[in-house]
């Protein structure tokens, strides 16, 4: 399945809830304010680095650019809107962690 996270991991619990729930073989796409979870040098970096071994973690490039950030944790893939669509083709169901 595909998990969508659009909340900052600093402000809300959505990303943590998602990480707790996501199982091996599933994928997570970070969008909107969720992209901050993909960045280096935050308290979430270790968790994300550990998670990418079992889970495909992607981040939406246009949302990174809008926020002026680009230091993405190793193993996290940057995708565009087309890549977002492809992820929803490859995975089902899709759960938005609102």
């Amino acid at each position: 399945m595909l998990h969508l996270v659009n909340k900052s991991p600093f402000e809300r619990g959505a990303f943590e809830s998602c990480l707790n729930m996501a199982r091996k073989g599933s994928a997570i796409l970070l969008i909107e304010d969720g992209v901050y979870a993909a960045l280096k040098n935050t308290p979430f970096e270790d968790k994300v680095s550990a998670a990418v071994k079992d889970i495909r973690i992607c981040v939406l490039g246009p949302d990174l650019a809008a926020r002026g950030v680009d230091q993405v944790i190793e193993g996290v893939e940057v995708v565009d809107y087309g890549g977002f669509v492809d992820l929803t083709v490859d995975h089902t169901p899709v759960q938005s962690w609102l």
Partner: protein, 146 residues
């Protein structure tokens, strides 16, 4: 316009697994109430419906809500009515309950009649582990969250 754009779809015989995932507290925002409206409608479509309550969503089922002083519509009773709509699975995440010091006795009772068991009355609210819910989630066709 309506002649050109398709506004009806053939769904005869389709039965999908729908999960309604509730993660927000009631009353502070409208999501719990409006999600419930979605659930009630979907019951009419004979789909395979599961409700999940996790994170602050477990507070939606807290019994004893009294909204007189805030002058908001009290929709707690609607959860109780879900059993009458043949909704038999309200799963509450154990980890979220524990973190909030809640037990199943704190929650509203929802009773449904089990047609596979001579219409015996059974409780619809069940506590499930995070792991069970994670597995169930992957089996769904549609997850609606708010």
């Amino acid at each position: 316009m309506s002649e050109e754009i398709q506004t009806e779809y053939e769904t005869e015989g389709v039965e999908k697994k729908f999960m309604f995932l509730n993660r927000k507290a009631p009353y502070g925002t409208i999501y719990a109430l409006e999600m419930l409206e979605t659930v009630l409608i979907s019951a009419a479509f004979d789909q395979d419906v599961t409700l999940v309550f996790m994170d602050d969503g477990v507070y939606q089922l807290k019994k004893g809500c009294d909204t007189k002083a805030v002058n908001m519509k009290n929709f707690s009773a609607t959860y109780k009515a879900l059993g009458d709509y043949d909704i038999s699975r309200l799963f509450v995440e154990k980890e979220s309950m524990d973190a909030r010091g809640l037990t199943i006795d704190d929650l509203v009772e929802v009773i449904f009649e089990d047609e596979d068991d001579d219409w015996a009355e059974k409780p619809a609210v069940h506590v499930k582990s995070r792991d069970e819910i994670a597995r169930l989630m992957e089996e769904q066709d549609v997850i609606i969250s708010a």
